[in-house]
Symmetry: C2
Subunit: 280 residues, 2 copies
């Protein structure tokens, strides 16, 4: 703690709203004792970040929505587009189960397989239009530069997810857990537990950053702190109700306010206009 | 008021939670007087319905999102897709103003015109994939059969909006107010004020049904009661916070629970599985 911050601490403790003295802990217990030596405790580790991919780092949710819609139409299944959107980011198996329950359609194992292949094929057609979300490359680069550990954890398959790495300016050995590597995808916590293990951190010392309620449920089940991004299309209220500690617009917004998460030592960047931020 | 309902009224008034007597108005003033004759008052009219079109009656929001994205990309403007989604349903002029303010891009009158033409062209390419939302044709048919007045009020132009009529099983002379017919589109109240005038009803005796916060702000400014549908992709919480009195999933869900809005005499339909409802 630096003297400047102590000085501010005293000022904040002595005057509340309207300049009246407050009765905070700093006044009710002697401050000098706390200043004269270090308290004895185990310092918590610097938090790590576990990032979802689609809608969180890359702007691909709507391409996935359209690809699912096209695959379902080809299979003769009519499902409103907003219902597809709400399922993006959850396990494909759960998606298909929900689909069968909601529509009453019965699908064989082979039908399900064809459906998932059709989705992958349709998504690939649209993949060239996918861009990084504003601030995503900068956020990851700045965390790395500040020795904050992070990993990607996505319900997508390796073959789809690895396409995102070059666009984010990341090397092929970026820590990333995909659907192929775990027993269950979101909202089960497996992906985030595996990503934390890959980094060698405890999940309870990690922030999970995601755009969907499935990320936030998985975060709670992993004992991590959920952070919501609106860049996948969910509204702030919905993410908050699902347990997000903070909700940001997109990675650029998170980066510009990372101090709120207790992240120290990030480089100073001029990202006052996050919408204008472009990938490096 | 039927004797059955009076009977229930007495039971509800006499026993509160846990069976304890309550002290409602029915007990504190003599009930017999109210039962022995008709009270003297001006009966309110049956409420009318003013429906938004895109995302409310037809499943076209995502096609509009993709069309705007394509038009913006052609103009060299990179805007995250979720930011486009949040603007669907608002006036095109306000959309472009917000776009310029958020991105810092400057557009001439001619640029704006080209952008809107590109959107119309791209939307037309996707228009064949647009379907009615579940229950929309049935809801409108049932309201008509029950002599409940309704109209459509959309920020779209006539040339785009009229494509929806045959798909909803509606004739060309369906009461519909489009962007071409009013001074300002949503969230200004003009479209709903004009639709109410077209029906000859006061806006304060109308429900405005829409999928976006722009519909709900326009409803408040028109003194109408806003009803939200989630079928355009907004979440329940966001629609409620914007002032929706009730939020339904889609037109089928509204129809199955129309009694909640005090609508009487609708035909009995078997729509227990609203997702399976298909256009007639």
């Amino acid at each position: 703690m630096t003297p400047v911050i102590d000085q501010l601490g005293w000022i904040l403790a002595l005057t509340g709203p309207g300049g009246r003295p407050t009765l905070g802990p700093a006044l009710s217990s002697p401050r000098v004792g706390a200043m004269s030596g270090q308290a004895s405790y185990t310092e918590p580790p610097t938090p790590a970040f576990l990032f979802d991919l689609d809608g969180t780092l890359i702007d691909s949710v709507y391409q996935h929505v359209i690809a699912w819609r096209e695959a379902l139409t080809q299979a003769g299944i009519d499902l409103s587009v907003w219902r597809i959107h709400r399922r993006i980011g959850m396990s494909g198996g759960l998606f298909v189960s929900a689909l069968m329950r909601e529509t009453g359609v019965r699908l064989s194992e082979q039908d399900i397989d064809s459906l998932q292949q059709a989705h992958a094929r349709e998504y690939l057609k649209l993949a060239d239009s996918v861009l990084p979300l504003p601030g995503a490359p900068e956020l990851l680069a700045d965390l790395t530069a500040s020795n904050v550990r992070w990993a990607i954890a996505t319900s997508s398959r390796q073959v789809t997810a690895e396409r995102a790495l070059p666009m984010l300016g990341l090397p092929a050995d970026t820590p990333m857990v995909t659907r192929d590597m775990v027993g269950h995808a979101k909202p089960d916590p497996d992906l985030f537990l595996a990503a934390a293990a890959m980094l060698g951190v405890e999940p309870e010392h990690a922030y999970v950053v995601g755009d969907s309620v499935w990320d936030l449920l998985a975060a709670r089940r992993a004992q991590s702190i959920g952070i919501g991004l609106m860049s996948g299309g969910y509204g702030r209220e919905e993410l908050e109700r699902a347990g997000a500690y903070r909700v940001y617009s997109d990675p650029a917004d998170l980066l510009s306010r990372a101090d709120e998460l207790g992240i120290r030592g990030l480089p100073i960047r001029n990202i006052s206009d996050p919408h204008a931020a472009s990938p490096s």
